[in-house]
């Protein structure tokens, strides 16, 4: 295995240009974020923020500042409403499990949509083994939640609704405010959680205006370090933590705070929000150039997700018919272009992207899909380079397919 990887990497030697577009699954951490984090490993604030010495107090001060900044960016009432977690997955687990356990005497019904991220889907599935039930609300062909069906589904037994603000695969910007109003109108007791990981830094987001009770954020999705995320919990909500251990500055997440990563997440947030308009315009411009370029060069494609301003500015998801996604990701990698695919490519699992299937794509369209996300760090040159290699890669893979499946 290790030997194979060495050889695989050798095949990439001599690349003149590399463009990382797989920002759904990880991200580069830009230098300005790294530099902001650097002193916190060994120069200052390296202590435990709950202890009575200088490095500890420094850490406490640092973390409080970070809490303050991020709560401002999402429009929280105060910094105590925020909990740093090791990522989006952990924040979603905390939100859904803690909300379900808090409300278990009021009801058992949890409502999500068909296109929630895996960490939401699977926590809901886990809870179904402990007496809770999950209802999935369908979406239309652009991935928008069916609000009528949501309204119908809310009843006295409904304790929690979880719906992402922006879909992580196809970029659909959901009408969260309307959804919250519908839910609260029918059952004011029902809590509303939104995974806002793909909205934070891409679209305006204000938890108070939206009226949500819980919101998840992710650091790497705005080019902060991996291993960091946050959960917003509305002030009066008395959740209990889902992990036990020694409690520091955060009641809901035990363990010693990771100050450098918190600083990195906060710095990435600052960079995203200080020039919000310019950043999102840049992402959108580059994304549009990428998508338009691909559609100009190739035929037999489908754009997955909405077109206009109802789509997140960074997201590009295209089904390339008569080409299999995994083969494409490898072919593109050999040219220095890094993307992911919704292909299943694993027999018996046979699960291509559940999001693409939910919006009505046929399996072959899901297997041939590629997902790319632009960031404020990409350049026009990057996109031109992608457009110079992608059609060749697709045509070679399509050449191998030949007439297979036609007769």
């Amino acid at each position: 295995m290790a030997e194979n990887v060495k050889e695989l990497l050798k095949l990439h030697e001599g690349l003149t240009h590399e463009v990382y577009l797989d920002n759904e699954n990880s991200s580069i951490v830009p230098l300005e974020v790294l530099e902001a984090m650097q002193p916190y490993w060994n120069k200052k604030a390296y202590g435990n923020p709950t202890l009575t010495h200088k490095p500890g107090w420094e850490a406490f001060e640092t973390i409080m500042n970070c809490f303050g900044k991020i709560s401002t960016y999402i429009g929280a009432k105060n910094l105590e409403e925020l909990t740093f977690t090791p990522g989006e997955t952990e924040a979603n687990n905390l939100a859904i499990q803690a909300a379900a356990f808090l409300q278990k005497d009021h009801g058992k019904k949890i409502i999500i949509s068909e296109i929630e991220p895996i960490s939401v889907l699977q926590v809901a599935e886990l809870l179904s083994k402990f007496g809770f039930t999950t209802t999935k609300i369908p979406v239309n062909s652009d991935g928008f939640i069916n609000l009528e069906k949501l309204k119908e589904a809310i009843d006295k037994d409904t304790i929690l609704v979880s719906m992402a603000s922006v879909n992580n695969e196809i970029g659909t910007i959901q009408p969260i405010k309307e959804a919250v109003d519908i839910v609260k109108d029918k059952n004011p007791q029902t809590l509303f959680h939104t995974d806002a990981s793909d909205a934070y830094g891409r679209i305006p987001l204000n938890v108070q205006n939206l009226g949500v009770d819980l919101a998840t954020l992710s650091s790497f999705k705005i080019q902060g370090p991996r291993g960091m995320g946050a959960l917003y919990v509305k002030g009066d909500l008395n959740l209990h933590r889902i992990l036990e251990g020694s409690i520091g500055t955060q009641r809901l997440w035990p363990g010693i705070e990771n100050t450098p990563l918190i600083v990195g997440f906060t710095k990435a947030s600052e960079l995203a929000f200080e020039n919000f308009e310019a950043n999102t315009t840049k992402m959108r411009t580059l994304r549009d150039k990428l998508v338009e370029g691909i559609f100009t060069e190739l035929s037999n494609l489908r754009l997955n997700g909405p077109k206009d301003n109802k789509r997140s500015p960074d997201n590009a998801n295209i089904s390339i018919l008569r080409a299999e996604g995994e083969a494409l990701t490898i072919e593109l990698s050999l040219s220095g272009v890094y993307v992911s695919s919704g292909s299943a490519c694993s027999r018996r699992l046979l699960q291509p992207s559940h999001v693409l299937i939910a919006i009505g794509r046929i399996f072959e369209e899901a297997h041939g899909s590629i997902l790319m996300k632009t960031t404020r760090y990409h350049t026009e040159d990057d996109i031109s380079y992608v457009l110079s290699v992608l059609p060749t890669a697709v045509n070679r893979i399509r050449g191998i397919v030949g007439s297979t499946g036609v007769h």
Binding site: M1, A2, N4, V5, E7, L8, L11, I118, P138, V139, N140, S141, D142, N146, R322, E324, G325, E326, A327, I330, L334, S340, G342, S343, A344, C345, S346, R347, R348, L349, L350, Q351, P352, S353, I357, A358, I359, G360, I362, F363, E364, H367, G399, I400, V401, G402, S403, T404, G405, H407
Partner: protein
Amino acid sequence: MSRIPLPYNPKIMDLFRNPKNLGKMEDATVIAVAGNPACGDMITFYLKIDDTKQTIEKAQFESYGCAANIATSSIVTEMIKGLTIEQAWNNITWQKVTEEIGGLPSVKFHCGVLAVGALKRALRQYFTQKNIAAPSWLPHELTFEEKQALEEEELAKTLSKKQKPEAET
């Protein structure tokens, strides 16, 4: 989305990048297909068979699938060249193909299985197509690989049926 790491070996990568015996064959004696695009996995084999010697003169393929699917299909066409139909039937198994290609990640074993399934289907088809009585060495019952190919195709049908015809707009 599968998150299993797939460190393909150099032989697979080589056949993925420069597949041998790729492309449609205009004068093929038999053409056999296995798999289904719904499973992300489909192979076409073209065999040119010498009727008097009962030998595979030429073998070519086309395939819709991942790198392992492309590489295993390609290597099967290499392995059977010059063999008699009987030799090809008896000697080529999915384990042999996996071995020949230098090993496959376990989640990709089915690629070798499907390639051999397509091959056996092609060989069996030769006799029915030519209207020749099946030789005694050819078992009536489907082999493991043929059964797996069939199972995958059935699964694809079920999957397509389960799928909603058109999401509401």
